[in-house]
Amino acid sequence: MIFQDPFVGRRAHHQCANCFDERLVPVLDRSRLVSMVGRPLDGHDNSCSDVGLLVSWPVTEFDALCANDAELGQLRTSIREFLTADRDKFGWQPAVDCWLAKWDPDFSARLAEAGFVGLTIPAEYGGRGLGYLHRYVVTEELLANGAPVAAHWIADRQVAPALLAYGSEEQRRRLLPRIATGQLYSAIGMSEHAAGSDLAAAQARATRTDGGWVLNGTKVWTSGAHVAHQIVVLARTSPLDPEHRHAGFSQFIVQTSAPGITISPILLMNGEHHFNEVLFEDVFIPDEDVLGQIGDGWHQVTAELGFERSGPERILSTAILIFSAIRALGDVDDGVAADVGDLVARMISLRQLSISVARTLTDGRDAASRAALVKDLGTRFEQDSVELVADLLDYVEEQGPLRALLATARVHSPLFTLRGGTNEVLRGVVAKGMRI
């Protein structure tokens, strides 16, 4: 084993017949099974007391590894049905890199209305109170179908978990229900002109004032800031200490309507507008919009990176291009079939690695190195897939729709291995995890 080995073993399904909440628990870990009995499950107001109805029976490890066991499989079916019906009715076109590029507030609202946003947000804050693997299944189905998810994406994927981990009770009650309805749009302000891979070089600075903080600085590559309600900004609240570069950062929830904010577009090379430069000039932030602890910002932004780095969005950004091409292929020779098989095998094995990391993280164990691996391997796969599909076009008769997807993919492709930390930095993380 190169890294710490994840738990590998048989699992049992555990179901409470009263509340229909199911959990996967390791069969071997009796103490954990016992500790679950009588404990309120996330998203349930009442403690589940009907111990006599608790039963456990085996589910196959195979189905669990495919994130397709009974409950997840059911969820997968329902999101697929929603997507098919919604697309038929509203006519959106499946898109490459939809989680950055396709901003559709109406879709986000409909998706939330159907119960597919805020899955991991507890019921008391308006969410579904389900587990990370439930969200995993919904997310991958959205991406595999190229659905227009960008509007609610960052709020649901990053801001909600951060609020649950570090937010005040008041912030949770104020923001989480709006996130769960798919109607709160958030951006994240981290990178700066002189702080890209080296995020600790960030210079945006907040200073103390009566009842709050005053923010000054400039953030760049801020996706969706021009259409978002708020930006979660990482800023220095203490001067740089060269010995402890990661100390002295804090996070703030800043309204885009606040006086002193100027948002300017940074256009993608084909003219698409997703990124922005955001200038903060003496922007006042009330104390109630400090996220977490002053001085704890670095820890807060890095602690949850595992989920983000290893998620399906690191594998499936080009999925709709790949699947469209495979569907469009007619009779092909063995060589082309093998090319398709190689492409699909890479995707399946990456998904297996990604799910394995997700299960490790869900069990509360560390998987930082393997999460970084998923992002490195997954995003390189996304990039490679673009040109592999281009080669398959020789065998496709009706090329028009594929050509359009391919053109977008070629513009977005350089981003895959940059966003969320460059692959060069990630490989350093992986190497350090190898105990060198």
Binding site: I2, V8, C66, A319, I348, S349, L373, R427, A431, R435
Partner: protein, 314 residues
């Protein structure tokens, strides 16, 4: 599970060759699935563990292939000693089956012949062979006839075993490379302090972890459903491609980072890299499995279904 892995480690550090084989028989590990009632999960741990130690013993051939097939055909085989299988396409002329099996792994004292025809598989015991193809010409009545589906399962079992063995061998290559780049000093620095070297190490780890994840699915499928099930067919097909495509980059990086010492007979690196490279081609090439998987994806209503799980109806 960890105890089993530990046992394999202990036996391999104490013994090699014939002595190791005797120890494996004494502890029951030599016939885990055919004699001890253990399942694929346990077999996978033993196979990858032995490969990680470069242990030259035909456990897969004896237990998963020969003993299993003989049992299916109702043929008694010795309960101790090494067994192997010879797989060949056969032709029938005047009640006699003939053919030639190339690449018989571990030619040893007891060979179970699997002579395949379009509609049936014929199984029998034949005499030991030395290196080279095993040719046969026997009366049909001397062999037992079984369902031809068992021929596919035999190949699948072999491919499954090789995936587990390759992951073990690649782990060994990676461990040696990590150790070497930590010890070796050039330009006044350990090799692993160079960023280019770190990136190669990370690339190596990535290929191995991906191969391991695909293999874990194949192990789960075999454990949950057995080797004859379409889910296992799917998972082994995926694993054989994923593992097969990992071998070249991992062994190439292992040798590159070892420098010239790694290509010498005296260094033990080849005992991990060469078996891995050899196993890739056995029980079907990587390309043949890629073609199969490609055909599955092309035939599916939605290729995404093939990515999520095996697409056959339950």
């Amino acid at each position: 599970m960890n105890e089993l892995a530990q046992l394999v480690d202990d036996l391999c550090s104490r013994s090699t060759g014939n002595e190791l084989w005797r120890n494996l028989e004494d502890t029951g590990l030599a016939r885990l699935t055919s004699g001890q009632g253990a399942g694929p999960t346990e077999a996978a741990i033993v196979l990858s563990g032995l490969a990680r130690h470069a242990a030259a013993v035909p456990i897969a051939e004896t237990d998963l292939l020969a003993a299993w097939l003989a049992d299916e055909a109702g043929l008694p085989v010795p309960s101790t000693g090494q067994l192997t299988v010879a797989i060949a396409d056969a032709t029938e002329v005047d009640g006699r089956l003939s053919g030639s099996a190339r690449d018989v792994p571990w030619p040893s004292s007891t060979v179970v012949l699997a002579a395949r025809r379009a509609d049936a598989l014929h199984v029998g015991l034949v005499d030991a062979v030395s290196d080279g193809p095993l040719t046969f010409d026997v009366a049909v009545g001397e062999l037992r006839t079984v369902d031809v589906a068992l021929a596919d399962e035999l190949t699948r079992r072999g491919a499954w075993a090789r995936c587990n063995q390759i992951v073990g061998a690649l782990d060994a290559a990676c461990e040696m490379t990590i150790a070497h780049t930590a010890e070796r000093v050039q330009f006044g620095r350990q090799l692993n302090k160079f960023q280019a070297v770190q990136h190669s190490l990370a690339a190596m780890a990535g290929e191995i972890e991906r191969a391991r994840a695909a293999t874990a699915l194949a192990v789960a499928a075999a454990t949950d459903y057995g080797f004859g099930h379409p889910a296992t067919d799917y998972a082994v097909t995926v694993a054989k491609v994923a593992v097969g495509r990992a071998v070249d980059p991992v062994t190439t990086i292992a040798h590159q980072l070892h420098g010239a010492i790694g290509v010498t007979a005296e260094h033990r690196l080849w005992r991990a890299t060469m078996p891995a490279r050899g196993w890739v081609d056995e029980f079907g090439t990587t390309a043949s499995y890629a073609r199969r998987l490609g055909r599955m994806a092309l035939a599916a209503d939605d290729p995404w279904d093939v990515v999520v799980s095996y697409p056959a109806p339950r």
